[in-house]
Symmetry: C3
Subunit: 261 residues, 3 copies
C-alpha cells in the first residue's frame, strides 16, 4: 500500500493532481494535508508540513506546492528525510524537516529532479505541481528508487526559522502561525524551552496572561489562555473566542514568557 | 473494505488525522463529511452528521470533532447506533442519532473510551481528534470490537433539539441551519409535520411566502420559495439568490406554516 | 480499479455523495476536482472540468453538479466523451468536452438518465447530486454499460463559449476565469491564437503589458505579467500579488493582444 499527501497554497482542492498520480500509481491512497497555506508563504507551509507529515505511514510521499518561483531557476527536488519522503520546490519548504533529521541523526538524501522522463510529457511553466511533482511522487510511490529520479545534491535551500532567546528566567519568542478559523496563535516557544522556568506569566500584544493551563476549558469563556498546542509549542487562545482578533496579532509579534519565581 | 468519515469545525482539511488512521488501518477508505461546521457549534455539527451518516456503507466509522471541551472532564466516546458507528466527544454531538435510533428501535451501544492502549502514545490536551478519536476509529475499522475500547455507559450527553409546535392549522418552528454558500435556510419543520395542513402560507423574517413549490426552478429568478429540502425539512431559498441575506436570517428565527383552508 | 471525480458549487466537501457511491461501488477511488465553482456558474464549472478531467485515468467517471435547474425538466445525463465519462445535469456543463471531442474526432455517446432503478430509492427534488448522479456514477464505475442507464440522445444542451476574434495583427478576447486565491486572470485566448503575432503587447483593464514572459519570476515583485497558463490560455498575473484586484477585473472584460511588428 502506498500513500501520498498533498499540501498547497491553492485555496481549494485541485483534483487534477490526483488524476495525474492515479494514471501512474493506480493504487495510491491520497490525502490532502492542506490547501489553505497562505499564498506564497513558504514558512507557514514548512511548519504545517512538519507538524503533520511524521504522523503518516512510513515512506508516505508528501507533495508540497508553495512555489512562488515556479518555472525559474529554483530546482525541483525530492528527498528522503528519515522515515518520510518529500517532493516539491527547492525553496526552503523542507527546512524544518532537515532540522528534525539533524536533531534525530536521521539519514537524508536529496535529489535534484532533472530527468524529464519521470514528468508529464508537456510541462507548463506555471504548474509544476501537476506536471513534475505529482508524476514524480507517483513514481516514488510505485517503488522507483529516489536516486533514479535525478542528481544528488547536498546544498538544498533553507529559510531562517526564528528561534526563541532563552535565559534562566525568561524566554523571548514570537508568533509563528495564526489559525484563522479558531483565532489561535502558535508561537515558536516549545514546551521544553520553558520547562525550567517554574510558574510563569506570558506577555503578548500588551496583555499579560497568568500561567499555563492544561486545556481551554479550565478558564471561563472569553478568557485568554496560554496552553501547550498539539505540536508542543506554546499557544495563545481565547476560550470560545478568537485570540488573534482580540490581540490584533501578526506573524512575528513578540511573545515573552517570564518566570514568577 | 472499511470506511471512515471525518467531520470537523477546523475550517480546512487536516490530513494528519488521515495519516494517523492509515498507520493503524492501512486499507481504510476515508471521506471528509465536512470541515466547515461553525467553530464549536455542536448543534450544527449534530444535524449535518445526522443528515449524511446514514447514506454511508453500513458500519462506516464516523469521526466527529466539534469539541470545545477537549481535554476537560467531558468523556471521549464511541457508539454503535443502528447500522453506523461514531467516535467523538460526549458533548451532545450524537443526539440526533440517538433519537433516530429510538424512533427506529435500533440497538445502541455507547462506550466511554478509557483504554489508552488504543490511542496514540502521547495525547495532546487540545487535539483529541488526532490523538484519541482517529486511532480509535482506525481500530474499529480494523475489526476491534467496540466493547474492547472502553467501558459501557448509558448516560451520554444530549443537547436540546428544538422541536416545532404543531396544531391542526399551523406549525411554528424555527431556522435551524443556514447554508452560507447558496444562502438557503433549513427549518426544523419536517414535511410530515405539515402534511395535514393542505395549502399553506409560510411566514419568516416579516415576509409571507405563498405555498410550497416542488423545486427552485418553478418560480422566477429572485423569488423567495419554500421547498422540502434534501433531508425532508422545510427549506426557504431565493431562486438563484440568497434567502439568508435577503431575510437577514439567524439561527432560531421563528418560521410559521399556516393552513389556508 | 475504478475512479470517480466530484465537482460541485457547494462551497465545501459533501461527503454524503462519497457515502452513496461506496455503498454501490465499494472499491471506487474518489477525488474532489473542486467544490468552489461559483454558485450556479455553469460556464466556470464547464471550463474547470475541461481543464482537469483529461488528466485522470481513462474511463474515470466525473460527477459534475452545478445545477440551478435541479428538479425541473432539465434532463439528468451521462456521457462517454472520448476517454472520459461524465454524469450531471444537461445544462451545458459538458459543452467544452463536446467541442474537444469534435476537434479530436472522438466518439461521443450521451444518455438521458431515465431509469430510476439506478438511482437511490427516494429522490429529493433539490439534490440530484446525491440521489441520481452519485448512484449512476457508481454503477458506471462498477461496469454497468452506459447504454443500460437510460435513453440515447443527440441534442444535449450547450452553452455559448466565447471565442476570441483573430486577425493577422491582433486577437481580441475576454476574461473567462478569475482565480481568487492568487488573483490570476485567465482569458479565452489560446497560445495557438497568438502564435503568429510575433512580439506582442497586451491591453486589459486600461493597462498595457509589454510582451509575454515564460513564468512569473521573470519580472520583479508587483509587476503585471502575461504568461501562458497551465491549460494553454493567456493568463494575466501580478508577481506575488493579485492581478484581479489591481485591475478590478470581471468576467467578460475585453483583452487585446496586438502585434508589435
Amino acid at each position: 500500500m502506498s500513500y501520498i499527501s498533498i499540501m498547497t497554497d491553492f485555496g481549494g482542492p485541485v483534483g487534477v493532481m490526483k488524476g495525474v498520480i492515479w494514471r501512474i500509481a493506480p493504487e495510491a491512497k491520497i490525502a490532502d494535508i492542506s490547501y489553505y497555506i497562505s499564498p506564497h508563504n513558504i514558512l507557514e507551509g514548512a511548519l504545517i508540513l512538519d507538524h503533520q507529515a511524521f504522523y503518516f505511514p512510513d515512506n508516505t510521499v508528501h507533495v508540497a506546492v508553495v512555489d512562488p518561483g515556479v518555472g525559474t531557476h529554483r530546482r525541483p527536488i525530492a528527498a528522503q528525510i528519515g522515515p518520510q519522503r518529500f517532493v516539491g520546490p527547492d525553496n526552503g519548504l523542507f527546512t524544518p524537516m532537515y532540522e528534525r533529521a539533524e536533531r534525530n541523526h536521521w539519514p537524508v538524501q536529496i535529489i535534484h529532479l532533472d530527468k524529464p522522463e519521470y514528468w508529464l510529457p508537456r510541462v507548463s511553466n506555471v504548474f509544476h505541481g501537476r506536471d513534475i511533482f505529482s508524476p514524480v511522487a507517483a513514481h516514488l510511490a510505485n517503488g522507483v528508487p529516489l536516486g533514479n529520479l535525478g542528481t544528488p545534491i547536498d546544498d538544498p535551500a533553507r529559510i531562517p526559522l526564528p528561534a526563541p532567546q532563552c535565559t534562566d528566567s525568561e524566554v523571548i519568542g514570537q508568533i509563528i502561525l495564526i489559525f484563522d478559523n479558531f483565532g489561535n496563535i502558535i508561537t515558536n516557544i516549545h514546551e521544553d524551552d520553558i520547562a525550567g522556568l517554574g510558574e510563569v506569566k506570558i506577555q503578548v500584544g500588551g496583555v499579560e496572561i497568568d500561567g499555563l493551563v492544561r486545556t481551554f476549558g479550565e478558564r471561563e469563556l472569553g478568557s485568554l489562555v496560554a496552553v501547550v498546542g498539539s505540536s508542543g509549542y506554546l499557544m495563545i487562545a481565547e476560550v470560545n473566542g478568537s485570540a488573534s482578533r482580540r490581540l490584533k496579532a501578526s506573524i512575528g509579534d513578540r511573545v515573552e514568557v517570564t518566570s514568577r519565581s
